[in-house]
Amino acid sequence: MVLGSYKTAICARAADPGILAKSQDGGIVTQLFAFALEEGIIDGAVVAGPGDEPFKPEPIVATTVAELLEARGTRYTICPNMSMIKEATRTYGLDKVGIVGTPCQIQALRKAQLYPMGMRSVPDKIALAVGIFCMENFPYQGLETMVEDLCNVKMESAVKMDIGKGKFSVYTERGAVSQIPLKLTHKFEQGGCHVCLDYVANLADVSTGSVGTPDGWSTVFVRTKVGEDVWGRAIGAGYFETKDIADVKPGLDLVTKLANEKISKNQKTLEERATFGVNKGLRNPYL
C-alpha cells in the first residue's frame, strides 16, 4: 500500500521531443496536460509558472500549451499550487481544472473535494489531478544555500536541478554540473515534510516521478477512473512512448523501497513528536 492503489504502472515518456527538451524527466506532466487541453478534458491547469526570482515558482493558471511549456521542470521549492485552485474557477472561468502537485498538495485537493467548507464550486470542477513523487521540499532560502553555497552556482546561472542517485545536482548554462551528496541537503528540508506519509501522490488521478525508470523516462501510476480514461486516450492518440515497467531497471522495487523509507522515517517522526516535550507532545494531524 505504500504506492497507493493504482490500476497500472508504466514506464513512459512524452512522444513530443519539443516537450521533452526542457522537461524534468519524461515530460509526463506537461504532455498529459497539453493533450487534455487540446482534447477539452481540461480548460486549463494550475502549474508552477516562472516567478520573479530564479527557481522560485509561482502558481499560475495555464490555459495554453505555451504557458504549460513555460512551467516545465522541477523547482525544488514550495509552489503553493492549491492557492489558485479556486481562482481558476472564478476570474479565469474554468469549468474543468487540471492541477499538478506534490503528494501533500494532492491530499489538500482531495480533502478540499470531500470537505469543501471553503471551496464552493471547486469540488466538481477538478478534471485532472496529476501528482508528482516527492521525498521532501525546501524553502527557497534553503535551496539558495544549497545551490549558491554548497554547489557554488549562482541561482541565475542554473538551468536545471535534479535529485537522484543520492545526489543533488545543479546544471548550469555552460554545461557544468555541480553535485552534493543528499545528506548535506537534509538540514535545509522543510519541517512540514517530515510528517508526510505519501511518496508517490497516492490520491492523484495520475502520478509520476523519475524514480524507477531510466534517465529521460518516467514512472507513471494510473490510479483513478478519470486517470485511466485520460491516460488511455493519450496513449491511443500516440502522445506517449511506453515500456513495460517490469522490463526496466531499477523498476518498481526501488520506488517501493524509497516509499517505505520515507513513510517509516516520517512515521517515526510522528511518534517522536507525540513525546516531544516533557509530558507534552506536538500535534498529529492524522489523529
Binding site: 492557492s83 469543501p116 467548507m117 510528517v195 477512473k225
Partner: protein
C-alpha cells in the same frame, strides 16, 4: 385545454426548451411534499442506486435500503442567512435532498412552522446574543429538540464577525455580547466557513441521513466522515487566521500547499516564501483556513476513498452516469 398544459405553456414558452425536470436518481415518490409540517415523517422512496464503497480496492457497491427520511431544521440565531442561501444553492440538488433524504421541518425563512419542533438534525446558523432572552431560549430549545446539532457556519461555530460586536447601537444598545453556540450548548458537529460551501452542507446532510437511516456499513462510513467535524466541535469555540500560525506553522506542520489562501473568504492570506501570511486586520475569524488546511485534520480512512465517496454522493443526488 387542461390546466396543466395551460400552465406548462406559460412557463415553458412555445415549444423548445421544455425544462425536463432533472430527475432524481429514481423517479420521485408520488408522495406529496407539503410545506413541511412538524412531526410528519413521510415514507419516501429511495433511489436504488445510492452506493457506497467501503474499500478503495473493491468495486462492489452497497445497495441503499429503502428508509425513512430524516428531519432537518434550520435554526436562525444571529447570522445573516448566508449559510441557508448556501444550502439553497444546491439548486436542483436541494429538491433531490428534500425529496429523498430529509424533511425540512423547521426554517422560518422557508416554511411556516413558528416553533422549534423535534428533529433529527438542527442546522444552527448564527451566534447567540446573550442579551436577548429569546435567542437564549431558542438555542436551548434547539439542543433539547434535536438529536444532532450542527453549528452551520462560522458565526455559529466561532462567532465570526460577531466576535467584534460590542453593543452601543440603537435601538438595542445593550445587545453587546454574542457567543458561539458551543459556549451555551453541546454541539455535535462544526461546519465552519462563511458561508460553508453548498457542497459541504450537502455532504453533511447526506452523511447525517446515512448515519441515522443507513445500513451498518453506511453508518460506519458516515461516522468516519463526520468524525473530523465532531473533533472540530470538540476543539473549541475560538478561531482565527492565527490558528495557521499557532496550530500549523508553529507546530512544524505547514508544507506550503496554499489551500488556506484559496479558502479565505476575505483574501486575508497570501503566501510569502512558501508560508501563509495572515493579514490580521482583514481576518474575520471564520476559521475556515484552519479547517480546510490538510494539516489541521487529515483522515486517511475517509479521504483515501475520495473516488468512491464522491461517486456515492453524486449518485445520491441523482448526478453522474452509471
Amino acid at each position: 385545454m387542461g390546466l396543466l398544459s395551460y400552465l406548462k405553456e406559460i412557463f415553458t414558452g412555445k415549444q423548445d426548451a421544455p425544462e425536463a425536470p432533472v430527475a432524481p436518481a429514481a423517479p420521485a415518490a408520488p408522495t406529496k411534499v407539503e410545506v413541511p409540517q412538524p412531526a410528519e415523517a413521510k415514507p419516501a422512496q429511495t433511489p436504488a442506486d445510492v452506493k457506497v464503497e467501503q474499500k478503495p480496492e473493491e468495486t462492489k457497491m452497497e445497495e441503499l435500503p429503502v428508509a425513512d427520511k430524516i428531519t432537518i431544521g434550520h435554526v436562525h440565531m444571529s447570522g445573516c442567512t448566508g449559510c441557508l442561501v448556501s444550502l439553497a444553492d444546491n439548486y436542483e440538488g436541494l429538491f433531490a435532498l428534500l425529496d429523498n433524504y430529509a424533511d425540512l421541518v423547521y426554517c422560518l425563512t422557508l416554511a411556516d412552522v413558528r416553533d422549534i419542533p423535534k428533529m433529527d438534525v438542527a442546522l444552527v446558523e448564527g451566534s447567540v446574543c446573550i442579551n436577548d432572552h429569546h435567542s437564549v431560549e431558542d438555542i436551548k430549545k434547539a439542543r433539547e429538540n434535536a438529536t444532532i446539532v450542527v453549528a452551520l457556519g462560522a458565526c455559529a461555530a466561532y462567532g465570526n464577525v460577531t466576535r467584534f460586536a460590542r453593543g452601543g447601537q440603537w435601538n438595542q444598545p445593550q445587545h453587546e455580547s454574542y457567543l458561539p453556540i458551543g459556549d451555551l450548548i453541546d454541539v455535535d458537529l462544526y461546519l465552519p466557513a462563511c458561508p460553508p460551501s453548498k457542497e459541504s452542507i450537502r455532504n453533511v446532510a447526506v452523511m447525517a441521513y446515512l448515519l441515522l437511516k443507513g445500513t451498518d456499513e453506511q453508518k460506519e462510513l458516515a461516522a468516519a466522515y463526520l468524525k473530523p467535524l465532531m473533533d472540530l466541535a470538540a476543539r473549541g469555540v475560538e478561531a482565527c487566521g492565527c490558528d495557521l500560525m499557532v496550530d500549523v506553522i508553529n507546530q512544524g506542520l505547514c508544507m506550503g500547499c496554499g489551500t488556506c489562501v484559496a479558502a479565505c473568504p476575505v483574501r486575508a492570506i497570501d503566501m510569502v516564501y512558501g508560508k501563509p501570511n495572515i493579514d490580521r486586520e482583514m481576518c474575520i475569524k471564520c476559521g475556515v483556513c484552519y479547517a480546510q488546511c490538510p494539516r489541521s485534520f487529515f483522515n486517511f480512512d475517509v479521504i483515501n476513498q475520495f473516488e468512491a465517496i464522491g461517486e456515492a454522493i453524486d449518485a445520491a443526488m441523482g448526478k453522474g452516469g452509471e
